[in-house]
Symmetry: C5
């Protein structure tokens, strides 16, 4: 439940600004790549070290770190770009909430990448830290396979306008693919709710209630990650921080729109889950009612009849009816009459 | 459930500003019409191309595009009017939330047209994009048959003050008919809830619970579309964007009033549905209670009697009562006394 | 449910500013009265037409229109006072939400008069539109018998300070009696809830659940009318619109206080209704429980006894017990022991 | 329920500013006391009239009125201090919400004194109105025995700093004891909830549900009185009204803290009550379940056995088993086997 | 429940600013320590009195008081540092809500230290008061063993940057360890909820419902302490109070982040508990349903059979079937047919 605060109590004794990696190791060996590009061309430095990071005036410089547990590398790159120790602490403590923080020389953005495992119906998350400086962008990813590859491809293949624009557009493009990656997750998540819905509509059982409970736990998780997005994109879309130039503003507003769409989707899923729980409870009540009716009808009809049979099963010496020739058929007729009366009564009550 | 984000994950790989039509094709062939009018007269260009769009000083120019899948046409018209690529992206990706966005030279408004299918009790929606420039309005509709026809008729028949006024009044008139179109939808939707209410009041069943669940799903849908309206109309009604002249302000406030009314109605429907679900659950509990009472009364009365009969049905050789001449009537009398006692007890408990 | 948007879909095709009366005709023939008064005296023009409305510097002029379906009269009076067509549209479309709207030369206030029919437990409403200009007030009532009569009487009888003060005080006095008229309605409404409470406390039935459901529907209605009051009176009590002079401000704050009181009362009623529904559901569960206990005790005690009797009712030839002289009393004793054991068990469980 | 608006509908016909006492008469004869004091000494005028109220520069003047139904006295004192008629109306209409209102020459504060009757578990309230002018304070109490006596004692006994400070400190000291008086009420109220909790934990019954319902009604009452406090103390603690000098600000912030504490306590009580209702409903469900299990086990075990006994109680002439010597013990053994099988089954289901 | 207001009603009669210790005595003898340090070195005065507190320009002075019931000591130290009497009142009345208060010469911060007793599942709390002046910090702890020891160690061991920085950084470091101490509490608390979850998933009982109720009571407690944190850290992180220098701002923002994380965790726990209660109620309904089905099936099958047996157990003289040679097997076959029919019916209903 509280995975997102696990590990924090252990590091509480350390002084602020201590670099401690918190989170799973999702790549074998962390590495850094630096890409310089502009309208004319592109050059890439693989396995870069601090010395390879040298932003210049007429090129965009993108430092891309994948894997967070090489603390030496990250400290070195951080010093090269003059990053604040508390910023680096946040980068490697990969449990941050989505946020945006303004420093004097750069803007710091934390986003989280959601993944949904359809087998186990569990949502997991990874952190993306992005720093936008004047002419450069640094990103820190937890794993190898993230939506940022799409942006790298666009630069390599010179698709769209990205190559012609500045570092602020690069930051926008990265945020854009991160936000948009949520749509696939939400679609898969929504389908998983639709499957539970089918179960509940067909036959509400304890298993479907437990599935719904598990699902709602995932929604709590989801909202914790998505809610702070609203603030983050609003800050960015206001465009008044000075780190984004005016031509990029309409693009930022698009990101904000998409974030609202994501939140709309998360809300819709949550309300559907709530409605489904209600339906489940109602259906249970209904079924209990139905079961009760069968019992009541069976018992109410046969118990009086059995009583009558019991009366004439008594062994008194003087029971004149037992001697009557038509006593037996008369009693059977009386029983049929009682049964018919009760059936009519139950029909009248609409139980039959 | 999440139709409104369907298709987005597929296009996440494309660079921003790519024109991709998202949504059903609701007309055979998209087409554009340009209408120029002022107090003196009106002229209409059917099947217009980019060259036909030429706003002039003393006429209002209304470009009306119906059908969104002719991307060439929309790109051409967009270039003619200098529309931003991200704006055009929103126009053809017909899943936008209602919104208003200010650009330097025009105001961009997205609204959604609701339709309610009374047969299936399903709400569907279409997008209307409107751009208000200096002296011109461009609208992009998904289908052929929308409330904008009312506005076009008024211009053609010179009804009301529309022909005497500017492009801002035209934009107002379009927004007005769009907002007002919601009233018919809400009326039909509310009637469909009233039908469920009748069912629940008469006989709460699993079918009525499922209908209510489906209905609540539609309300989630409805609110997602209607809630952003508040912001949109508030922005417009403040009248401080400079795209609306002062004489149009009282009209814009009327639109805002109507939007609040629409939201009031949606809220009222939602609360009624919530109350109805409560009533349903309560009624179920009540009926279970009633069924139980019948069972309890029948069983409690006859089980002791049957026991007594069982006692005198035993085959012991020495059971003196069996020999008594008045044994049988005495036992019957005892049974009647027991039954009467129990009936009095149940009456006392108000179960009978 | 949605009475308050009925009729709007029909008029959606009309151009803005068309005068169409929406609402019931609550008087036979609409008429206008104009009252001129100041500290010196008062003169009244009955059955006034537009020509009779002539505000002058040293008198307060109150135009009072009762009945809204004489559109010619209202259009004429409106033109005389220079009222905006959209304002007149709101006046006759008597389904407006409470609101306050500032125009250059007057302030436009819409309030709603609530009435509660104790027979049917239904809340109904009428619209009061008020326009406060410089030196004049115009009011538009739907019916003949409204709290405004109290204000007219005070002017006629020169009670209180009203005759000495200006048009702004007149507007205040009218808003004051309108707000205060809600107290009577809320008292009666609250008493009607108290009656349902008595029912639920005595014997929760399906009828009391339905009454509660109906009651909650009326609360939805009530809140829709009362909630916008908060905004309206806050606007007025801020006193910064320039239409109210400083000596009137303490009076306006009193109105705001009373409106908050009204909203408090509505909230209290709503929460009581919610608590009552909870009590109802709990009581149902309790009663089901009690019914179950009776059944369980009766069945659990007699079913084993009946079984024992059944055993000795079997017709086997070799059943030695049947021959024993004390077989019968021994079995009766065993039965009594079983029953006593079960009774002790149920007492131990506190079911008896 | 709605005691706090009782009486208002009756006075709706009166002109604003009419003095009408609303509320119970809690003292025999209303009276006024004026206390003048400073660092040097103190003098008290009992049974004061308007002429006794004469604030001077170097003394604090405290006019204390107890009992609100001597309207002549209050009107006279009000005129002496130049109090606005609407303020006096609020003073005697002792149903005001807590509020603070700034006039040009004084600050008007309304607070409510809570009392809790542990016998009936009913919360009642009285009004305290306070006016803070330059160098004077006027207070209007409904009854004889209020926390203000503590303040009067401190002045008389020269305890604490009160005698050395100004009228603003006196106003603070009064508000302070009023706010702090809530703690005792909340403690007693919370204990009354703890008693209900004990009942629910031991044995949830209809009586405990009704007690909880009554309790929640009192919470509605409580919150209506306490919620407005937040605004009142925030206004006062901001200290920007000019009626409080800077040395008094830290004291005012303390009052605000205590008010927040009171609200915290009220919230905690409310949430506990909600949780208790949930527990009650869950416990009911649990008990119904338990009762059902006993019935099901008893019935399921004995009904088949009784059937077997019934079979061998039939009177057919040709029933070979009846002749068998070991028929009877064989049947008894079969019955024991059936019973054992069912017991094993129920154990397996964890019902036994 | 309301421990946090206990004791307040007793002290309501005292004048403001009276020092009264409220809370448990958590140390034997209160004592004060003063630490002076800067980049060069450190000196510590144990068992300090007022005379030992002498802030100087080039050293940070940390006065650390442990134990709050030596009122003389606290009054003396407070006078030395010129602390306001109301501040000292708050320090010893250890029931304050978390808050931050600006005085002219110092900033006053109250935080609460949570502890969770895993045995009893009870959350307890202690108060930490912190005053940040120019060049000095004073802290007041209730007990001996608090996270502040971590900060003292860092200064002693010259770990991290604390020794090189000013009093504002010391205040930050203290707030930081206080906020971070919540993570351990929340982890343990969350695990205790996970244990209840296991119970509910396995077998929902009255005991698990009571555990959940107790747990929710602790959450109310938790939130009351944590919610005010948001305001406190926001105030501090804005950094505009002038008590924190700009180099400390990024550190303060980190504290604010962690506080939000703590609140996220508390919210997640609360929502999980709510979902669990829902699951509990649903599971109860499910089980009642299952129990009912067993009863209904058993009773519905055997009651008709027993009736048939009863009929042929009647003692009428003329019952021709009894004479038939195959009467008995025919009746047995009929019984088997009835039972089979009912079993097929129940299978059809998916009850078997
Ligand atoms: Mg730390
Ligand atoms: Mg951190
Ligand atoms: Mg997060
Ligand atoms: Mg995008
Ligand atoms: Mg877009
Ligand atoms: Mg939604
Ligand atoms: Mg994209
Ligand atoms: Mg888009
Ligand atoms: Mg939308
Ligand atoms: Mg309209
Ligand atoms: Mg209007
Ligand atoms: Mg409704
Ligand atoms: Mg219209
Ligand atoms: Mg209208
Ligand atoms: Mg309304
Ligand atoms: Mg009034
Ligand atoms: Mg509403
Ligand atoms: Mg008043
Ligand atoms: Mg109430
Ligand atoms: Mg009045
Ligand atoms: Mg009043
Ligand atoms: Mg109140
Ligand atoms: Mg106090
Ligand atoms: Mg304090
Ligand atoms: Mg609380
Ligand atoms: Mg005090
Ligand atoms: Mg205090
Ligand atoms: Mg606290
Ligand atoms: Mg920290
Ligand atoms: Mg951080
Ligand atoms: Mg959360």
């Amino acid at each position: 439940m509280l995975d997102f605060i696990k590990g924090w109590s252990r590091r509480a004794a350390l002084p602020p600004g201590s670099l401690v990696h918190v989170g799973r190791r999702r790549v074998q060996t962390p590495s850094a790549t630096v890409t310089y590009y502009n309208g004319q061309g592109r050059r890439v430095v693989e396995n870069a070290g601090p010395g390879d990071v040298a932003p210049v005036a007429d090129e965009v410089c993108w430092l891309r770190v994948r894997g967070l547990h090489d603390l030496e590398l990250i400290r070195g790159l951080g010093q090269r770009l003059n990053l604040h120790p508390m910023l680096l602490e946040d980068v490697v403590e990969a449990t941050q909430r989505p946020k945006v923080e303004e420093f004097a020389d750069y803007l710091f953005v934390v986003l989280r990448l959601l993944r949904f495992d359809q087998q186990t119906a569990v949502i997991s998350e990874e952190q993306l830290s992005l720093v936008l400086g004047r002419g450069w962008v640094a990103t820190f990813e937890e794993s190898d396979d993230t939506p940022l590859d799409l942006v790298a491809q666009r630069i390599a293949q010179r698709r769209g306008r990205i190559a012609e624009m500045g570092a602020d557009y690069l930051a926008y493009a990265i945020i854009d693919v991160m936000i948009d990656s949520n749509f696939g997750v939400l679609e898969a998540f929504g389908e998983s709710l639709d499957a539970i819905e089918d179960q509940v509509l067909a036959n509400p059982s304890e298993a479907s209630a437990k599935a719904l409970y598990h699902f709602k736990g995932q929604i709590i998780h989801l909202r914790r990650v998505l809610w702070p997005l609203r603030e983050v994109v609003n800050f960015i879309a206001r465009g008044d921080s000075g780190f984004f130039s005016q031509p990029v503003w309409p693009f930022l507003r698009d990101v904000a729109d998409h974030a609202l769409h994501v939140l709309d989707a998360a809300d819709a899923i949550r309300e559907q889950a709530t409605g489904l729980m209600e339906l489940h409870l109602g259906a249970l009540g209904n079924r209990t009612n139905e079961v009760m009716k069968v019992l009541t009808i069976m018992a109410s009809i046969f118990i009086p009849l059995t009583f009558i049979a019991g009366v004439y099963g008594m062994n008194f010496e003087y029971m004149p009816e037992l001697r009557l020739h038509y006593g037996y058929p008369a009693v059977l007729a009386a029983m049929a009459a009682v049964a018919a009366g009760l059936i009519i009564y139950f029909r009248h009550k609409k139980w039959l």
